[in-house]
Symmetry: C2
Subunit: 110 residues, 2 copies
Amino acid sequence: MTIDKSLLAGSTALLVLKLLESGDKYGYQMVEELRRRSDQTFELKSGTLYPLLHSLEQKGYIEAWEEDVGTARPRRYYHLTDSGRRQLAEKEDEWRTYAGAMFRVLEGGA
Amino acid sequence: MTIDKSLLAGSTALLVLKLLESGDKYGYQMVEELRRRSDQTFELKSGTLYPLLHSLEQKGYIEAWEEDVGTARPRRYYHLTDSGRRQLAEKEDEWRTYAGAMFRVLEGGA
DNA sequence: ATATAATATATCGACCATCTACTTATGTCA
DNA sequence: TGACATAAGTAGATGGTCGATATATTATAT
């Protein structure tokens, strides 16, 4: 099933921060890992990811370092900062609150 | 906790259709019921709801009828059509797929 | 030999959905 | 009198995603 793009809005930053929790990664790698970990549900587009990475870097949640990989275009690895780790915890909490409320409404909650 | 507005994007249409599943309702009533059923998590703004209702009506998912309630502005009740009911089932499936994928990523899924 | 796909990062304009702020109008309570 | 709840609505701003496009190298297939 293909999910509507607007459903993803607001979750992408959380997903990216979550991916970086388990170690430094570069953009292309995040797209692949996210697709794998979500069973093909999330197909992050490069036009979404790269601007997002830049904005997360500007906010100080992630830091970039480059790997000189010979002649090819160097990989830009991203590292989760302490501030980013706090932001991740907050966003994760927020998402669980949102999902909980959605379930309550969908289950015909009080 | 206040959730980010962009998290709600893509869920509002589903929520509105869901509310109408249990009976015809008017706009203001939906805002209230949604707030109640979500334990104050969802605060649908009128600037979001009314245009959304109009677009759902145009797509044939809901139908409006007016209640003449004396001198005050008449209430516009909305009714879920058969087409809307099918759309609701689809959107609900889609959301569960999305939420499932989110959980898998958040639980550090393989 | 040549074309295509995969790897890898990036920008730009279009699009869509929500929000804030504002408008109109009545009834109620202090 | 003034504020708040009820009730529906519009306009403009904002923010996030996408499609298209660009660039460059390597691997695979024809």
